[in-house]
């Protein structure tokens, strides 16, 4: 069974309500119909009522639940809640909450939806800002981040040939604190979603002080911070990629005891450039299948879609959000 089928079966065991703020988009509606008909999740489509219903009808569907934020009975309650919690006038809260992204995030925050899948019609930045503002981050984290699950043909290392790369999509230039956050969040995601014992390698061009440079020191500092915050976490670095993945190299380059070196299953890159380029190298040159970027760090699961997402991409994103939600339980 491939990974996505595994997640789909997991989602079906406990179908979750997933809210889609861009309900009148036909790609979203097609994915939602598949989720509903397959009993994988309970999709809720937000948007202007006539437009959403017309989109669903054009696909031959009728059975989807839809919500028009501007006329929904919950709007006044959401506005009042937001205004109170953020100490803002109600008319200002209304501007934020009436927008489908804001309304969807309020549904997630209040537990009326388990997670949210959006971003097909808006920049990633807008989705992330609204989610951080309304849903918030998990306790102890200062940033949201992302990871790819990489399935590399013929590779036997990592975790049965799978590796996680973080953060390829969100934090451009994380400092040591943010890098420690990314490591901790990614380890938690790997344990919850995949049942792994995380072994986190914090990557650099230097291994254990072999280079004297602030960029390497930042990674070493992040390792220390992560160890202080999560003493049980198997994490090591800074280290080069070969020391993280190849045991013979690890033995040559790392002379202290390490549960990670040579057999890491999570690679945390020092910044977005490295993570994004590294991910695409493995995709393009090794033919890896990559799943994601999967967002993490929000208090409830959120998925950001590419504007070129297909119905299958949207379906898979919703499945992952549903599984993240059950894992968070």
């Amino acid at each position: 069974m491939d990974i996505l089928s595994f997640f789909e079966e997991r989602a079906k065991k406990e179908p979750r309500t997933i809210v889609f703020p861009e309900g009148s988009n036909s790609v979203i509606a097609e994915a939602a119909l598949r989720l509903q008909r397959g009993k994988v999740a309970r999709p809720l489509l937000l948007g202007e009522a006539a437009s959403v219903k017309a989109t669903i009808a054009s696909l031959g569907g009728t059975e989807l639940d839809t919500i028009d934020p501007r006329s929904d009975r919950r709007l006044e309650e959401y506005v009042a809640d937001y205004a109170r919690e953020h100490a803002l006038p109600e008319q200002v809260a209304r501007r934020i909450v009436t927008e489908p992204l804001g309304f969807a995030a309020m549904m997630v925050k209040r537990g009326e939806a388990a997670g949210m899948v959006g971003g097909i019609n808006c920049p990633t930045r807008d989705l992330l800002m609204v989610c951080e503002l309304i849903i918030g981050l998990k306790p102890g984290l200062s940033v949201a981040s992302s990871f790819y699950l990489m399935d590399i043909p013929g590779y036997r290392g990592g975790e049965d040939g799978l590796l996680i790369f973080a953060d390829p999509a969100i934090q451009p230039e994380p400092g040591a604190v943010e890098l420690a956050d990314i490591a901790i969040a990614t380890a938690a995601s790997a344990a919850a979603l995949l049942g792994w014992q995380p072994r986190v390698a914090m990557l650099s061009f230097s291994t254990k002080g072999s280079a004297d440079h602030p960029a390497a020191e930042k990674v070493a500092q992040a390792v220390e911070l992560a160890k202080q915050r999560a003493p049980e976490l198997l994490i090591d670095g800074e280290m080069q990629l070969d020391a993280a993945l190849v045991e013979s190299v690890a033995r040559q380059k790392i002379h202290s005891e390490s549960a990670v070196a040579g057999r890491a299953n999570i690679l945390v890159f020092p910044n977005l450039d490295a993570a994004n380029i590294g991910s695409k190298l493995v995709q393009q040159l090794a033919g890896a299948r990559s799943y994601g970027p999967i967002l993490q760090g929000f208090a409830a699961p959120v998925s950001d879609l590419s504007r070129s997402a297909t119905p299958l991409d949207v379906f898979n994103s919703a499945v992952l959000v549903a599984v993240q939600s059950t894992a968070d339980d």
Partner: protein, 78 residues
């Protein structure tokens, strides 16, 4: 100082939870006031409400200083 400048300074002070007297046109939103990008959604909504000018999430991310916010709104009002 113009009406727009007064309103912007009061609004920025409210979002940053600072005294308006501490804020001038050269005050930097991120570095001096620690206004995170997520809080700029609320800043935009408040300014839209108080000055009756549409401000998108992208627009409000661009200004680095209070003076730049004032200039952006004055340009929109023209």
């Amino acid at each position: 100082m113009s009406h727009i400048a007064d309103v912007v300074i009061e609004t920025v002070a409210a979002v940053a939870k600072k005294d308006a007297k501490e804020i001038g046109v050269d005050t930097r939103l991120a570095e001096d006031l620690m206004v995170k990008s997520v809080n700029r959604i609320e800043l935009a909504a408040l300014l839209e409400d108080r000055l009756e000018v549409p401000i998108g999430n992208f627009d409000i991310l661009k200004p680095k200083t209070v003076g730049a916010v004032i200039a952006m709104i004055e340009a929109k009002k023209k």
